[in-house]
């Protein structure tokens, strides 16, 4: 990432940027220290802090997106943390894979909290979850997910695929935010990696050859109508007004056309999907 280029870019629009930052000398000192004190990954946080100082508050809309992402990461992190304690994984390797995912989700929570706080803003409280999908009754359709491996995989697949779509839907709200957008994209692709892994593990377990690392049409992979909202719209074969099926005479099937583009979900759609997992 090129923080300095961003500053240079800004300076062409706002010649006062260096003055707005503590002073140019202080800015240089801050940058000079980065290599010693901060990891590269922490650089966006330092930048956030500098921008806040330079321009005052970042827009509420950006903080809202980050808190919305934080809610989803709490959901995933809590789900996997509990799952690791009780799910009867078939072997140590499968368990190891989910351990890696658990670790990432916990790190995403921590990262988002740090970013939001570095912007001087408040984070949402960690919600109370009902992973049975029973809105707090503890008696929803997924109540055995922590003891039934197959059901666990079904919930994991749905959470990951939904997470990918949720981040994608929020990206336009971060347009022009530079490092914040890049960080969100860098989480988005990790969720997609998780989704692909979970789907392939589940494909092996269910022996469903048609269940692949990518989403075909609006297929739930046999989970059914309970999770249909997480896959609705994925079947589209039109992109920006261009028909992908058979495009330019190539043998691209409708299935391949739908698989080759993942679709976003709006915040409202995601909120509806997540609602049964929240203790209201």
């Amino acid at each position: 990432m090129n923080v300095l280029n961003i500053l240079n870019e800004i300076s062409t629009h706002d010649p006062e940027v260096y003055a707005r930052l503590d002073t140019r000398r202080a800015a240089m000192r801050a940058f000079g220290n980065w290599g010693k004190k901060l990891t590269l990954a922490a650089a966006p946080l330092a930048l956030s802090a500098m921008f806040k100082k330079a321009y005052g508050q970042v827009p509420n809309s950006v903080v809202d997106v980050l808190n919305f992402a934080l809610l989803l990461e709490h959901l995933e992190a809590d789900f996997y943390t509990r799952a690791m304690m009780t799910v009867p994984f078939p072997d140590a390797k499968v368990r190891e894979g989910f351990g890696i995912i658990t670790d990432h989700e916990a790190k995403h929570v921590k990262f988002l909290v740090t970013v939001i706080q570095s912007l001087g803003r408040g984070t949402i409280a960690r919600p109370r979850f009902d992973f049975s999908g029973g809105s707090g009754s503890g008696n929803g359709p997924f109540k055995d997910a922590f003891t039934n491996y197959g059901l666990f995989l079904a919930v994991a697949q749905t959470l990951e695929d939904t997470g990918v779509r949720a981040y994608k839907g929020q990206a336009p709200n971060l347009l022009g935010t530079g490092d914040v957008l890049t960080a969100a994209l860098n989480i988005h692709s990790v969720e997609a990696r998780h989704a692909a892994h979970v789907r392939e593990v589940r494909s092996m377990f269910t022996q469903m050859a048609g269940l692949k690392p990518w989403i075909t049409g609006n297929d739930t992979g046999g989970i059914g109508s309970l999770v249909a909202a997480s896959y609705a719209g994925e079947e589209t074969t039109m992109q920006a007004g261009i028909q992908i099926t058979g495009i330019n005479g190539k043998a691209i099937s409708a299935n391949a056309a739908s698989e080759s583009f993942d679709e976003p979900l709006t915040r409202e759609q995601v909120t509806e999907i997540v609602k049964p997992f929240l203790v209201s």
């Binding site: 997609a192 892994h197 190539k250 976003p264």
Partner: protein, 239 residues
């Protein structure tokens, strides 16, 4: 084929004077001027293929320019998708992989063709020419060689889209890039797991974040697999 010329003291390639204060600033920050100034060894105008400026396919030695603004970002993506699609076309054609691996690599081929053709149509007359792949370093009869190359292409694709999002001005284009990058990440995870189990996300850093690469860094790698060269000067993609 992609060159970064160190040019810390000379004039900027666009002719603008170098601001010595800024240079100092960059140096203090440990920022290499080589990454800011990026020129290619252009010969004559006839060798430079600009968007819409040529109807013929590109050929070895051509220097490809991407245009400016969002068009440049889309052309950059189009270049990478051309490379990926050509790679998987060859993989399926040679037929080294078997069973489910072949089925899923055929899926991936179709996804990459879909991406390539989509960008071609979306860009229309602004599209760069068709590139000439150079896969001489890949042994298509070796499963290991195929998987290694596939992993490199997919991870590079993810890193490229993640790094390019910030250059886009149009929200619809950002969404489109998002629709594609997660599919590339799915490919990457699948291929990585084939090579080493549970390796699906080994690119992730200490914060749980994937990698984003600048266009210059991406083309430095991708350029090795293309006969043409790339010139980012004036594209707005430097940085």
């Amino acid at each position: 084929m992609f060159q970064l010329h160190r040019n810390a003291t000379g004039p900027r390639p666009d002719g603008a004077p170098v601001n010595p204060q800024r240079r100092g600033f960059l140096r203090v920050a440990g920022y290499s001027a080589a990454t800011a100034l990026l020129v290619t060894a252009c010969k004559t105008d006839a060798d430079v293929a600009t968007p819409g400026g040529s109807t013929r396919a590109a050929r070895a030695g051509d220097i490809i320019k991407f245009g400016t603004g969002d068009v440049a970002v889309l052309n950059y993506a189009y270049a990478l998708e051309q490379l990926e699609a050509a790679f998987y076309e060859k993989v399926v054609e040679v037929g080294t992989l078997k069973g489910r691996e072949m089925t899923l690599f055929t899926d991936i081929r179709d996804h990459e063709i879909a991406h390539r053709e989509f960008f071609k149509n979306a860009l229309g007359s602004a599209a760069i020419p068709g590139l000439t792949p150079n896969f001489s370093s890949i042994d298509f009869t070796s499963r290991a060689s195929i998987l290694l190359a596939a992993m490199a292409f997919e991870d590079l694709g993810v890193q490229a889209y993640n790094g390019a999002g910030r250059f886009l001005k149009n929200a619809d284009f950002l969404t489109l890039a998002g629709k594609i990058v997660s599919v590339e990440a799915r490919h990457a995870a699948y291929v990585r797991d084939l090579m080493i189990r549970n390796n699906f996300s080994n690119t992730v850093d200490a914060n749980g974040l994937d990698v984003a690469l600048s266009p210059g860094n991406v083309l430095n790698v991708a350029g090795k697999f293309v006969m043409e060269g790339f010139d980012l000067v004036g594209s707005g993609l430097i940085g």
